[in-house]
Structures are given as C-alpha cells and as structure tokens.
C-alpha cells in the first residue's frame, strides 16, 4: 500500500520536474540555504559525511600480505605521484583528486576488542567510546561525532543516518549514537530517503501537505504530548521518551517550514532510485556499492535542503552475507574473504584467493568514494563545490581485515570544510586514538573549538588543520 502511494507521488514529482525543465538542468546547488543556529552571519555552512565500511582492508600489516592500500610514503599528494602507485595501492585510484585529499594513518581505536571485533570496531569508529554490552550487541558508551555536531549546529534535528547493505540481523547499523547505549537507526533504502527529501522540495510532498491539514494534526499530537509531559509522576526515562517524541514531531514542523527553494533532485539519478522502490531491491546482494553511491548523493541533497549538516553512512555490517562481483564472477561472501576461509569465523575450508579478492574489493570500494568526490564536485556555487563547503570521510570498522586489528585504522578525507582542513597531503598521526581525529572533524564541520562537547581527551590533531 505504501509503495503504491509513494510511486504515485514520485511520478507526480517527476512530472513536475519535466514540466519545468528542472530535471535536466544543473542547478546551482548550495545557493540560498537558510542560515541557522550556530552559524554566524556571513559564514558559509559546512557539511560533513562520515562513511564507515566493513571488514577492514589489506594494508600489508600481515607479513604475507602486500601493502595494497596506503601510499608508499607520507608527505604531499599529487596526481602524478598517486598515479605511480595506483596499480598496486588502492588509494592511488583517487589520483585525479589528489589536491583534495587528506590521508591520515597512525590512528587507533582507544579500546581493545573484548568480544565481537566487528561490532566493537563500528561502535568506536565515530564515538571513540568504550563499547559496552557483549559480542554483536555491543553499544557505545557515549554519543557519536555526528550527534555532537548536530547538537551544536542545529539542536533538535537528528543527523542523517544512512546505510548501504542487507542488514542481516547480526550487527546491522552500529555507528551513530545519540548517547550511551542509544543507537540511532539507519535508513537502508535510498528510495525512502529520497521520498523524505522529496517532500522538502518546493511544490510537492510534505511541504505542500503541511500547508493543508497536516499542521492541524501535528498540533493536535503536540498538544497531547504536552499534556502527558505535564504529568508530575513521570519517571526520567518516560519524560525523555515523550520529549524525544515531541521533538520528532516539532522537528518535522521546523524542517518543513524552514526549507528554502535551494534543494532539488536535479542532479539525482531518479531512475536508479526508483528501481529500488519495489520490495527489498535495495537489499539485493551485490548492490551494496550501487546503493552507497546513491546514498552519498542523497546526503548531498539533504545538505542542500538544510535538513542536516552532518550525515553518516555505514556500508555493511561484516556478517550480512554481502558478495561482490569480480570479472563477471560472484565472489564468496565478503565476510568469508576477510576471514580467509569459507566461514564467518575460522571453521571453513581455506580460501587461497582471499587476499587477492579482498584487495579487489578494496579497489571497488575506493571507486565508490571516487564517485562521491566526482559527484560532489558537480555541486557548485560561486564559492566552489560541495567539497569546498564540507568534507566526506571514509573509514572502516577495522584496520587490517584478517587480524581484526584496531590499530592504524584508515582515514581518507575529501574536501577542505570551508578551508579548515589541509589538502593534498598524507600524514602519520603517530599512533594516537581516534577521539583526536573526530574532535578535529567536529571542528572542521563548524563546531566552535570552545564547544563543551568533545570526545575522549578533547584534544585535536592539529596536523590535519590549516590553522585553528
């Protein structure tokens, strides 16, 4: 039933676009974005996307493995220099955009694995907090960086939380936390994300409905929640629960009423999105990178619509059965490949090709990040592209895939975040914990340095910044 509704709404929107020619015209994307909250007048908003992949990389930390990820040496990055190692090291695939990259090695997760390394790696990736709970149910003991950014820049609005992959029910989303133990759910269907954003586009969807009866209904729900919140006998937990519900409804109101005409789907491959509208098409095995590419574009649109200043995207959860294709052949489950035998642990038959296949998958994933860079570069204003207004950070829940190591986790950052981040350089942080990197990204995203919220030590990685 809901598919039926959504399809008709989608067609209506597309007809509208065709009628105005917008669908084929690249709009200046970031103009007219309403300023809000923490941004002082005259400042340009900065947007940040944190992208966390699964199952580690092949980085040569195993003595038998080739060094197939990082550039051969730290220092300046140039297109020519990166092209020289592109055949052997997958970061070289980003050579064309060398001047927009900041590569950081020498960053570790603060807490050693005590249970399921995959879950605990995801948990620490954006929180730098100690995982609590056990095994695949591990949760963070503090908020994630996207929450802190959202709280500082637009209170009351959640970060956009996205997912690419099948969600097999074992770990699922595990990177964005509202607070200790408060996992934020991630939307895995780009079509649903698109539908939500579409409602924000002027002339269609929620925005128009809101002008009708929707506001009266929202007001009624808010009144009911207010009456319940006025009860003197609420526990703290119940008060928080009702307040969250209240803020969610009010957030809908605020978002709808504050959207400007800047956001649109003019550059989006709507046909590809629509292809994911039926059933579980978005969860089809083998589609993880295709979905990830759509999700990063939707994040860009969400930024343009000022729906949020920060987003996260988790790609897979390690145990979800994801497979990749290589030269027309469907590889065994990526999890098996990363574990180097035909099982999710160690009990399967050996897989001699595992290292080669893992390296090939790393290159495929790097291609997805390159897609992000190239698409975001297309969204321009007089001041530059989206990469000049923000950043996209690529990392992984693990460092080396086979050993499930938490040391030397990969970080690739594209975009200068309004001039805050250094570009065209590969640095070694020197075995520091990732709270310092995340605090730096929080600052880059626009959170003032005197903001009380900070992760872990509260320190920064000054070497990543132009100046502070």
């Amino acid at each position: 039933m809901i598919h039926k509704y959504r399809t008709s709404a989608l067609l209506g929107r597309r007809a509208f676009l065709s009628g105005t020619g917008i669908a084929t015209i690249g709009l200046p994307f970031l103009e007219g974005i309403p300023m809000r909250s923490a941004w002082a007048a005259g400042d340009a908003p900065v947007f940040g996307l944190f992208m966390v992949t699964a199952l580690g990389i092949v980085d040569g930390s195993q003595s038998s493995d080739p060094a197939a990820f990082w550039p051969p040496e730290t220092g300046p990055l140039t297109t020519v220099g990166m092209q020289a190692f592109a055949a052997d090291r997958c970061t070289g695939l980003l050579a064309d955009h060398a001047e927009r990259l900041l590569l950081v090695r020498g960053v570790d997760y603060p807490y050693p694995n005590t249970g399921d390394a995959h879950a605990e790696g995801f948990v620490q990736s954006l929180t730098a907090s100690q995982p609590v709970g056990s095994n695949s149910s591990a949760l963070a003991s503090g908020p994630s960086v996207d929450t802190l950014i959202a709280d500082a820049l637009h209170p009351g609005t959640d970060p956009l939380t996205l997912y690419a992959g099948m969600k097999g029910g074992f770990i699922d989303e595990r990177i964005s936390f509202d607070g200790s133990g408060m996992l934020r759910t991630a939307e895995a269907n780009p079509y649903v994300v698109y539908q939500r954003l579409m409602g924000l586009f002027p002339g269609s969807g929620v925005a128009d409905r809101h002008l009708g009866h929707g506001k009266s209904i929202n007001d009624t729900v808010l009144d009911e929640l207010n009456e319940l919140l006025a009860r003197p006998d609420l526990s703290g937990a119940d008060r928080r629960r009702l307040e969250q519900h209240f803020e969610a409804i009010r957030g809908i109101e605020t978002t709808i009423s504050s959207m400007a005409a800047a956001c649109s789907d003019g550059r989006l491959d709507v046909a590809a999105i629509e292809a994911l509208s039926e059933g579980n098409a978005f969860r089809r095995n083998g589609a993880i990178e295709e979905v990830a590419k759509l999700q990063v574009e939707l994040a860009a649109i969400a930024f343009a619509c000022n729906a949020t200043r920060v987003a996260t995207l988790q790609c897979g959860d390690a145990y979800d059965g994801t497979t990749y294709e290589l030269d027309g052949m469907t590889l065994p489950r990526f999890s098996y490949i990363a574990h180097r035998n035909y099982s999710d642990g160690s009990t399967g038959s050996p897989m001699p090709e595992a290292v080669d296949w893992h390296m090939a998958i790393d290159r495929i994933r790097m291609g997805t990040f390159r897609h992000l860079i190239e698409r975001w570069l297309e969204y321009t204003t007089e001041a530059g592209s989206l990469l000049d207004h923000g950043f996209a950070l690529w990392t992984n829940g693990l460092a080396d895939g086979y050993s499930h190591s938490f040391r030397n986790v990969p970080y690739i950052i594209a975009g200068n975040a309004g001039g805050r981040l250094r570009q065209g350089v590969y640095i070694d942080a020197g075995s520091v914990t990732n709270d310092r990197l995340l605090n730096t990204m929080m600052y880059a995203n626009g959170v003032p340095t005197d903001n009380a919220a900070a992760l872990g030590s509260g320190e920064f990685l000054e070497d990543m910044l132009v100046e502070r």
């Binding site: 039933m1 694995n113 929707g214 526990s235």
Partner: protein, 602 residues
C-alpha cells in the same frame, strides 16, 4: 571465563531467595573448576536448590504464582518495589556473578515505562483490527527499524519514537486514512455505519485508545473532525472529518503507546489490563467484545480478570506473539547463509519461505495445542511440503505444508531444517554456532567474547569437521574450558545433519561422531546423539529455568529483576512438572508483576 568462586547462596531482600541472574556457565563456573552453590526460590515458595551438589529440596508452595492475589513474580506486591534489587546487584557483583557492565542501562534494570510503544508487529495488527482491514497493511516493514538490544524486540526500554519513525508514522497515518475514506465500504465498516461526526469520534476513539475518550478528547477530536471539510475539501464533509480523525489518532501517543497512567503500586485499570493482555498474547489491540467486558466490570475482580486472561489465551487467533517469541529466541529472523550450489543443488531460495512457515506452524502447534518446553525440544511434529519433504526423507505431495510425525532422529525444533541450515556455512555444519545458539536460547548462557578466529590454514587434509573444531577448541587449547564441556558437545551432537540440515552418515569418508558429554548442574552427562542430548536437556532443571525466564521476560516485555528471576524458578518447577506454555503464561499474566503498576520516577 575466569569468574570468581562463589560458594554460598546469595540472598535477596531477606526472602532467602537466591539471586538467579546467573547463567549456566556462571553456575557451573565455566573457565574454572568452581563449584557454585546458589539457592533458588519459587514464587513465594520455600524451594531451595543446592545447584553445586544437585541436591534439591522443594517445600510446599513452589507454584506460588497462583497461590494468592498478592503474590508477585518473586515476592509480595508490597515487597516488589523494595530495595532488594540493589541488594541483589551488590551481592551479585561482590560475588563476581554478574558481568562487569551490569550497572547502568545494560544491567537488566527495567524502565517500568508508563508508555510502552507498540512494536512494529503490534502496530501492523492493531491497524488491521482498528481499520477493519482484511490483512495487516504491511507498511511497518518500511518503518525505521528498532535496534535489537535484548533477547526480544518488545522490550519496553528500547521502544521509542525517533525522528525517522515519526515521519514514518505520519506517512502511514495519511496513507491509511486516505485508504479508508476512498473505499466507501471500508469507511462504513470503520464508522460502524454512523454518518455523525460526534458518534464517529466516540466509536473510533474508543478502539484506537483502548478506552473511552475523555470529554476533553471528545471535544478536541470533534473540532479536528470539523476542520476536515475546509482543509481537505473533497466535497464530502463526513469523509474529510473521518480522514482528519484517523490520521490524527494513528499518530496519537494514546494509540502508539500502551499506557499505564494510574498511581504507583496500584492495580492497572480494566482497560489498561485488557490492552496489556491483548498486546502481550495476541499482539494486537483489544476487540470490541473485550472492551465491552471491561465496561461491564468483568475485570474488576481478580477472578474476573483471570478468566478474561484465560479466554484470551484460549482464543485460537491468539498466540501470534508467542510464535514471534520462539522465532526471536532462536534468532530465526536471521537469514540463511548461501549454500554451495554444487554440493547442495536441491537447496534453493524457493525453499526458504516454506522452511520459515514450517517453523511458524510448529510454534503455533505448541501454543494452540497447549504444549510446553518438552514438546519444543522433543516433539516429532513437523511440517513439510513436496519441496522440503525430500530433505527430510519423507513423502508429501503438493505445495501446501502438511503435518508429519518424524522418526526418532528428528525430535523438536533443533533438528528442523530452519535451525540447522541457518547455523551452517555454505558447505559444512557449524557446530560452534549450533552449540552456542542452543546454549544461549535454551540454557541461558551468554558467552564471553567472539568465537575463536585462529589461522585455519592449520586444518589438515582429511580432518573431519569435528576433528578440526576439536583441534582448535578442544582440551589443551585456549578455548578449551568453555568449549569442551558446553559448546562443542552441543554442536557435535548435530554433526549428522549437514549444511542444509539433511541427514548424513559420514564426514570425510568416515562415520560422523555425534556422541559427547555435556556438563549439567548435576554433572557431566553422556549422550550418543542429538535425540539423547535433547532428552537430557528436556529433563534438566536449568533448561526449564531458562524457559521460564525467557517467557517471563517476553510477557512482561521488560528486563527481569532478581525478584522476577526468583519467581521464574517457581515457574520452572511447574514446567518441569509438564506445565504448558499457556499455563505458565496464565500464571505470569495473573501475577501482580503484570497487573500492578510499578516502577516510578527515576
């Protein structure tokens, strides 16, 4: 692993009821050679079990949950809110029985929420019944999913309305309201034939909120109804008003949450009890007949309420929630791993719906036919169709699943394809997964850490699956302690079932070895194969305690306290005496832990 020794019973709240937040591994000291003695109390009983020695003394009153209206799950209603929890935690922590992260939100402390949000499954069925739909609308499958933090998805602590879910509710409410008003027959059905706005608000509001509306609510929604004609402008003022009311009430907190709004420590109102029982058992809102029974005062007495709860349990349409109980317990919501198509060409994706439905039918059979844990573990009943029958080596015609009685090699749910094939890799059984799942779901033993991940290149050619596993987790290895007497024997018992759950006799050309010895509280007990193992488990006290614990947790929709767990021991005694799931449930539903508002500001 490495737990502290415990050599004396732990008493809670002065009731001589042992803290029962201990698991099998903790009880028997996996990781060391500790002999653990702990007491065990029934529901207000004098039961005492010296677990370490296996000596059991049971005094009268082990069936405490039905011994009196003031008996709680774990003690008297008056003492339920006492400080026994903290005492128990302290005692348990000191004794090293509880995990390090016991304190805080992961300690199993209930929230005792006054606002328990409907699960997505409950929302689906509630909407179906509220809007008189033929079937669930299947909209919630697209809702923002609820993260799973505990064994069951209905845990009150984790059901909230996120910004994404608020949008989902909003869209669903609009979609459903549109569907009703655009379908004249459906509109008439939902409105009970009335064309009067005030009547509609009264009728629909009572169903949606599971109670009569207050005067203020009547006024509020009638005003909203009146706005419809102007805001929607379809030309049908009644339909527009209905649209407004449906769309609004489906987003109302009084619909989305099951509420407990009365004073602390007092019995829930009749309407609240009806909703709680209906949602707990049938996963949906109370019917008109149930609401009428409340209005007639039938739930005002304990006896009336008990009869009401029994009637809900006996309704053939009920039990849906408890199909979900079993499925969640066994993690059957997890997908199947892809099978090697060369080794198992017969195991295609087409089989998967039939395997899921077969499990569902089995669970339905257990509930409807008033069966219990032994049947869960040992029943020969299965459901097969023409596609799955060959894998069981039985003959059935047609695509419909039919009940069959398997032979002695396949007792209970753990020998069914749905379980076995899920817990196997693409080519081989996974005894560790099988063992761990059984350990966690039937013996209540969460395990420390991730399974071993050693270098599998050490696997030697020609090693059987069992030999390989033993070589890396057997005696003398770093994982030997927990594996040798718990995980491995549980998994190896099913080695005669291959990666798709079909019977096999050999591995690597040699006969499979399904024998072993599992450590129970009473000591090591040997078995020859899975049927013998399951028979031992079915008669073990720890399995019945685990079953009672899970059932209580699911029915109360919250984490359990030490008082609850002590009560679960009493239920376990009933289960050991062959009480059915329904019987145990009725005891839980009748207890003040279920019927009384408790919790309070935190």
């Amino acid at each position: 692993m490495g737990r502290s020794r415990v050599a004396k019973p732990i008493f809670v709240g002065g009731n001589a009821i042992a803290v029962a937040l201990v698991t099998l591994l903790e009880l028997v000291g996996c990781g060391d050679d500790t002999v653990v003695a702990t007491g065990s109390g029934g529901l207000g009983s004098g039961t005492h079990v010296d677990v370490g020695t296996g000596a059991t003394e049971t005094s009268a009153g082990g069936d405490g949950a039905e011994t009196g209206s003031r008996t709680t799950l774990g003690g008297s209603a008056a003492s339920g809110g006492e400080s026994s929890d903290s005492e128990g935690v302290e005692a348990g922590t000191d004794a090293g029985l509880l995990p390090e992260d016991f304190e805080g939100m992961f300690d199993g402390t209930p929230t005792y929420s006054r606002f328990v949000r409907l699960t997505h499954e409950q929302w689906e069925l509630a909407v179906r019944d509220l809007l008189r739909l033929d079937a669930a609308p299947e909209i919630a499958t697209e809702f923002a999913n609820d993260p799973r933090f505990s064994t069951f998805s209905n845990n009150e602590a984790y059901l909230s309305v996120s910004p994404q879910l608020a949008v989902d509710y909003q869209e669903a409410a609009r979609t459903l309201a549109t569907r009703v008003v655009d379908t004249p027959d459906l509109l008439a059905l939902v409105a009970d034939g009335t064309t009067d706005g005030a009547s509609f608000v009264t009728i629909f509001g009572r169903r949606a909120f599971r109670r009569p509306l207050t005067d203020a609510e009547e006024t509020r929604f009638l005003d909203l109804f009146a706005q419809g004609a102007e805001l929607i402008e379809s030309g049908d003022a009644f339909a527009d008003g209905v649209h407004m009311v449906i769309e609004s009430m489906l987003q109302s907190p009084h619909f989305l949450y099951r509420t407990e709004l009365g004073p602390e420590d007092e019995r829930l109102s009749g309407y609240e009890l009806a909703a709680k029982v209906s949602l707990a058992v049938a996963n949906t809102i109370p019917s008109d007949a149930m609401l009428a029974a409340v209005a007639d005062g039938e739930l005002d007495t304990e006896e009336g309420y008990r009869q009401f709860a029994q009637a809900v349990l006996d309704d053939p349409a009920s039990g849906r929630a408890f199909q979900s109980f079993y499925a969640q317990l066994l993690r059957l919501d997890r997908g199947f791993s892809a099978k090697d198509s060369e080794l198992f060409p017969e195991f295609t994706d087409d089989l998967l719906p039939a395997l899921d439905e077969a499990d569902r039918l089995f669970f339905e059979h257990l509930f409807v036919d008033d069966l219990g844990l032994r049947d869960f573990l040992l029943s020969p009943r299965g459901y097969v169709n023409e596609a799955t029958a060959p894998l069981y080596d039985v003959a059935v015609d047609g695509p419909d699943l039919r009940p069959v009685e398997f032979d002695a090699a396949r007792p209970g749910i753990y020998t069914r394809l749905g379980f076995l094939a899920r817990h196997a890799s693409s080519r081989e059984p996974e005894p560790l997964r099988r063992g761990i799942t059984i350990l966690e779901s039937t013996l209540c033993s969460p395990l420390p850490g991730e399974p071993f991940d050693p270098d599998n290149t050490m696997r030697q050619d020609g090693q059987t699956n069992r030999e390989w596993i033993e070589s890396i987790t057997g005696e003398g290895t770093c994982g030997g302690v927990c594996h040798v007497e718990y995980i491995n024997p549980l998994g190896f018992a099913f080695e005669n079932f291959d990666a798709i759950g079909a019977l096999r006799e050999t591995d690597q050309g040699r006969p499979v070895d399904t024998s072993g010895a599992l450590r129970f509280i009473d000591g090591l007990q040997s078995f020859a194969d899975a049927p013998e193992l399951l028979g031992l488990i079915a008669e073990s006290r720890e399995a019945h305690v685990c079953y009672a614990k899970h059932l209580t947790e699911f029915a109360l929709a919250r984490e359990l306290t030490s008082d609850d767990m002590a009560a679960a021991f009493g239920l376990a005694e009933r289960s050991l005496a062959d009480a059915s799931m329904k019987t145990l449930l009725h005891l839980i539903l009748s207890s003040p832990s279920f019927t009384t508002r408790n919790g309070g500001p935190q």
